[in-house]
Amino acid sequence: MRRYVVRRVLLSVPVVLGVVFAVALIVRLTPGDPAIVLLGQGATPDAVAALHRELGLNQSVIVQFLHYLGNAVELDLGRSYRSNERVTDIIATALPNTLLLTGAGLGISLTIGLPMGIASAIWRNTGLDHSLTGISLLGLSMPVFWTGIIMQWLFSFELGWLPTAGIGSWRHLVMPALAVGSYTAANFVRMVRATVIEVMREDFVRTARAKGLRPGGVLHHVLRNATIPLVTTLGLQVGLLLGGSILTETVFAWPGIGLQMIQAINGRDLVLIQGLVLVTALLFVGANLIVDISYVFLDPRIER
């Protein structure tokens, strides 16, 4: 078990490094010189050359990346080109906000998606199933920036119940979490439905029913066996949520890493982009690692 975990962790390292290097390469190959963006109308060739030297952009990509790695090992991810703030500080402030939003979104996604998906599966092909599937299709078709603005109009402008944007109280979390959660819930409903239906087709379910087990008990066994594929989906949902957070954070002015990423890209803040990609990759890899490890605990049949 310990060997399994250690091996998985070690395998994650080249994945994360590879992602960061790929991004470092891509942003440097993309047209748009950070020095020109930073200097604006002051971008005379002399000023640009001086800023290149100051930021180390006059060196080759490999050299820059090796410097970056060397510092990263000591937890120094550099300083943002635009604000000169430590990248680690920026991430330390923004990341908890995104985690809060992602966590709340995941919670809503589970609370809505799980019961709906299970109900759809149990009473499949009935009116209930069709309407629930229809609702989830609606949820999937409505982009988060549209539902976000509609919610703002309704709950902030018309009713005045919730603040339009920003962060600071539980009230600020409601709409963004609903926006991102209902989108992923719609996705989740379909996955749950498909998984549960498939498990219900298995022989042990027929056996249990034949033995006279009451429906609640059958359901209990079905769900236990559906846990593993569902947990896998959850791990992937985390990726969806992290990506979708960019849009949600923009509409609701939620100061997380999504908003930081958009600004970093627009401002060609290469150092910050690399730091944010590193963190996002770590989060995604970490979430899936937890999912993998959880299999061992969820299914006694899996060898420790």
Partner: protein
Amino acid sequence: MRTASIRWFSTLTGVVCLMALAAVAQTRAAQPGTLTIAESSDADSLDPKLATAAPSVLVYSNIFDTLVEQGRDLIMKPALATSWEQTDPVTWRFHLRKDVKFQDGTAFDAQAVKFTFDRALSKTSPARGLSMAGPIAQATVVDDSTIDIATTKPFGPVLAALSEVFVFGIVSPAAVEKYGADFGHHPVGTGPFAFDSWQKNDQIVLRRNPDYWGQKAKIDRLVFKIIPEASSQAIAFGAGEIDGIMAPDANLIARLKADPTANVYEVPGLRMLFLGINTKRPVFSDVRVRRALNHAIDTGAIASALLKGHATPAQGYLPKQVFGYADVGTYKYDLGAAKSLLAEAGWKPGPDGKPQKDGQPFTINLWGYTGRDPNSRLISEAVQGELQRLGATVNLRVWDYSELSTALWQEVPKGGPETAPYDIFMLGWTTITGDADFTLYGQISDISIPPKGLNATYWAAPDYMADIERGRTSTEATVRVAAYRDALTKLYDQAIWVPLVVINQVVVLKKRVTGYTPHPVEYYMLRMADVGLEN
């Protein structure tokens, strides 16, 4: 059992309703004495040395002062310096205001000024906006309240340069020493508002400086709230959560103008969009062709239709409020005149009806951009359409603004400018100092021909250069104005640009905000020291 659960359920409902009511009350109440303005981007840094873009300068122009200040009429006024004189052709002596303190309590004196200038002029890490400041060489302390600023050569617009808060905003040496590289997040200056707190991408809070040397602020707190999405800004404004919006989206302005709780302040700004013509390209080295282009673009339509009236057609190479502007004429929109000028230059209709010369069709390579300015892509496409009316084949390439900069200024074609892949490029330029020198010397001069600078037209006639040098080196207003009139006349005559539109600055504020007057320089639009709130 059932009665208990009914009771529990109704209690819960009651609690939820009370919370909702409390939520309503909380959301709508504005903290007294607090003015909240929405911006679409967060500041990068509040250090004048590091951040020169509007989102940062809009905020820290409340925290820092300069030696002289640019008034709303663009004329320089005393600020941290009360008087000044020129002691020799390259030296200016400033007498500093006495009994001024920084917001951290330390004293403002000539040493602080020298510290600021040394920091900005550092060779190893100069201020990011330094190249916009002109030939400022150094600051020398004469005594505690007197300082000499030297330039490398005689420089007429020196006061305009020193008023640039984004290079020469005076910083507290004690605070810089204390915070080092983090000064941008703990700024300390002498201005009417002191820094209070900054939640990145959420809001920046400034509080009133009660010891300010000038007009003390009428409000207690000034909050810059970051709301990136335009419709979210409008909703927050309508719901009463914010008191103003800086530079609202053009599509929202009409709606906001109809809002009875709002005042919309719109003034002509200092940013101009124009088409630059590569005068070395064989077709466009003929001045008649360039004049034809000037006649072919309907700038009025661009301003009213594309920019919805939030811009004015350009009246020359500079916005009208700029020092040195002179009305030396503009080319009227006249397709007939354009076509006859082309014919004069040898472009006669060929067998397909389109102009051609020596068997070559009339082809134009047009570079436009997207980003940076609203609707810039649309304008590029409109220009393409207008030039096609001349019978030209127009190849439009739309760049991202930062890429266009690199392509124009850094990548000089190996075969020389006449082989450049562009004939005409679209650009925007803001005359930040309100002085003709900033634009004419920065954009159109021989020392700024790529790769040395930003003059992608490759034009800089010697007699024109003599005019702008005269304007730059004289310190007498009448001499400078006359010199720029001559320079502008030559520019008009040689038609190296097609000036398009001057963009308006817009700010929307609730009617409860009193005493606000817009400033033509975008950077100073949100200086709120003389603004009050009535309730």
